[in-house]
Symmetry: C2
Subunit: 280 residues, 2 copies
C-alpha cells in the first residue's frame, strides 16, 4: 500500500493510495479522508461511486470532507472497476460497461472474470485493509453511494448485515435486473441466467429474504425528481415496494428540481454523513 | 448569451453560459451560481480562477454554492483565457502561458494581442453582462480568486475602486513582475519593458499609489504554509509590506499544512464568502 499523495482538507488529510489487488489482479487506487486526529471516532463511511467515476470524483466534487471533519468520520472511497492497459474494456468504449463500470459484482463470464471482481475486492480486500491500516473500527462502518454506487451500497449491505451498521444511497439503481444499465452489465459479467443476477439486485435480494443489519433502523435514499435517469434506470419505487412488503423502513426523499449530477450529491451529502454518524 | 446547461444546487441554480466576446474575439464560457430567489440579495462575488482552470474548476471543486445559497450571493465565474482552435497557445503546450493562463491582462505582443484581452473582457464585457442580465447589483460586487486568479482579483480591485467593494484572495500571486510565472507571462504578453507590467502587479500598483475602494476596510488573504509555490511564486509578504507602507489593512492568514490545491480553497472558501457578504 503506497501513498500517492495527500492534501490537508478541513484540518484532516485527504489521501490517495495504490495497492496490488489479488481480487482484481491489478494495481487499484483508492482515496481516504482522515478527519482531524483529535476528532476521529473510528467510524467510517464506505462510499461507492457511480458509472465513469474513479476514486477521485467523490473526493473532489461532493464537498464531504467538511462534514466528515466535523463528525470525526473516515471516508473510504474505492475505484469503480479494475484499471490498466491489460484490463478488458467495452469494445466500443461504452461508458456503462468495462472500465469505470464494475457494478460491484464478481464477473463469471469472459473476458471479464479474470479482473472484474469488485464484490470480492471491496468486501474481502479493501475493507479489511482499511480496518487493518487506517484505524477504522470494524464494528462502526456504514455504506453509501451514488447511482451504480447506490446499487453497490444497498446490495453489499443486504449481503453483509454483520458488517454494515448504517445504509444510505443517492439516486441508486435499485433493480438493475430490470433496467437497461443493469441488464447490459449483468448479461456481460454474469451471463444470461438471471437467477445469478439476484444477489446483485437490491430489490430481488429483499424479495428473496435478505435483510439489513438489525442496527439499520431505516435506509435513507435521496432522489432528484428531475433526474434524467429516474424513469429509465433508477425506479426507486420498486425498492420501496419490496421494502414495504418486507417490513424494512425507508426514508425516500424526492427532491424537486435536482438532476443526477454531483451538484445533487453535494447538496445532500451532509445529510447522509450525519445520518450515518448518528447511527455508527 | 446562450445557456449550455444548468443544475439545481443547494436550492439555487448552477448554470454555464456561452457568449461571443468582442474583447477576445471568440466564444467565451462562464459559470454562474444563482442563489434561491427568495434569498437573493443582488450581491455578487466575481471569482477569478488560477492557471489551467476553465470556468468549471471552481464550481465543481470549491463547494462554494452551499454558503452562497445561505448568503443569497451570486457567484460569477469566468474562464481564464480565450479558447478555441484558432486561439494561440504556448508552442510547447506549457501550462503557464496561453490557454488557461491569460493572467487577466490585455496582451500587446504578437501572437497574443488579438485574443488575450482578459482585462477588457472581464471589466468591460463580462461584468456589465452579469449586471445587465443576471440581476447583479452594480454597487454590490466583490472580487476574489485563487493563485493567478488572486493576482487578477487584487489588481482589478486596485484599478477599479469604483466597482469592487470587497476584496480577498486565496494563495494569490502578489508580485508577478518578480516571480517566474509572472515574468514569463508578462514578457510574452506585454513585452520586455517592465514599466508596462506595473499596472498588472498588485505590489507595484500599491507602491505607485493605487488604492482599493474606500469601502474596503481590509483585504483578506489565506495562504497555505505548505503551498509548494509559496517561496518561488507567491511571496505574500511582498504585498503585505507594500500594504503596510501604504496604510492598507490586510488580514494575511497563514494556514499550517495546507497546499495550493482546491482542497485548500474548499476548506476556506466559506470564510471568504462570508467576508464579502458582510461587506457588500
Amino acid at each position: 500500500m503506497k501513498k500517492l499523495g495527500d492534501a490537508r482538507s478541513f484540518d484532516g488529510v485527504q489521501s490517495v493510495y495504490e495497492h496490488d489487488s489479488d481480487a482484481c489482479r491489478c494495481a487499484m487506487r483508492f482515496a481516504v479522508y482522515a478527519p482531524p486526529r483529535e476528532r476521529a471516532t473510528g467510524e467510517a463511511l464506505l462510499w461507492l461511486s457511480g458509472l465513469t467515476c474513479t476514486h477521485e470524483n467523490f473526493i473532489m466534487k461532493a464537498g464531504a470532507q467538511r462534514v466528515a471533519s466535523e463528525l470525526g468520520l473516515t471516508l473510504l472511497v474505492p475505484d469503480t472497476s479494475p484499471r490498466g492497459d491489460n484490463i478488458p474494456d467495452a469494445p466500443d468504449g461504452a461508458y456503462d460497461l468495462g472500465l469505470g463500470a464494475g457494478f460491484y459484482v464478481d464477473a463469471t463470464e469472459e473476458p471479464w472474470s479474470r479482473n472484474y471482481r469488485m464484490q470480492t475486492y471491496i468486501e474481502k480486500e479493501f475493507l479489511p485493509l482499511a480496518i487493518d491500516r487506517l484505524g477504522v473500527d470494524p464494528s462502526r462502518v456504514g455504506i453509501s453511494g451514488h447511482s451504480m454506487g447506490g446499487h453497490g451500497a444497498l446490495t453489499m449491505a443486504l449481503r453483509n448485515p454483520d458488517i454494515f451498521r448504517s445504509v444510505s444511497a443517492l439516486a441508486p439503481i435499485v433493480a438493475p435486473s430490470e433496467v437497461p444499465w443493469g441488464e447490459k452489465a449483468f448479461a456481460a459479467y454474469l451471463g444470461s441466467d438471471r437467477a445469478h443476477w439476484r444477489r446483485y439486485d437490491a430489490t430481488a435480494l429483499v424479495a428473496d429474504g435478505a435483510r439489513f443489519s438489525p442496527h439499520v433502523d431505516a435506509v435513507l435514499i435521496d432522489q432528484g425528481a428531475a433526474d434524467e435517469f429516474l424513469e429509465s434506470q433508477l425506479r426507486p419505487e420498486r425498492f420501496a415496494s419490496a421494502c414495504e412488503t418486507a417490513g424494512i423502513k425507508m426514508q425516500l426523499r424526492l427532491r424537486p428540481g435536482y438532476d443526477h449530477s454531483y451538484y445533487f450529491v453535494a447538496t445532500f451529502i451532509s445529510d447522509h454523513l450525519r445520518w450515518h454518524a448518528s447511527r455508527l
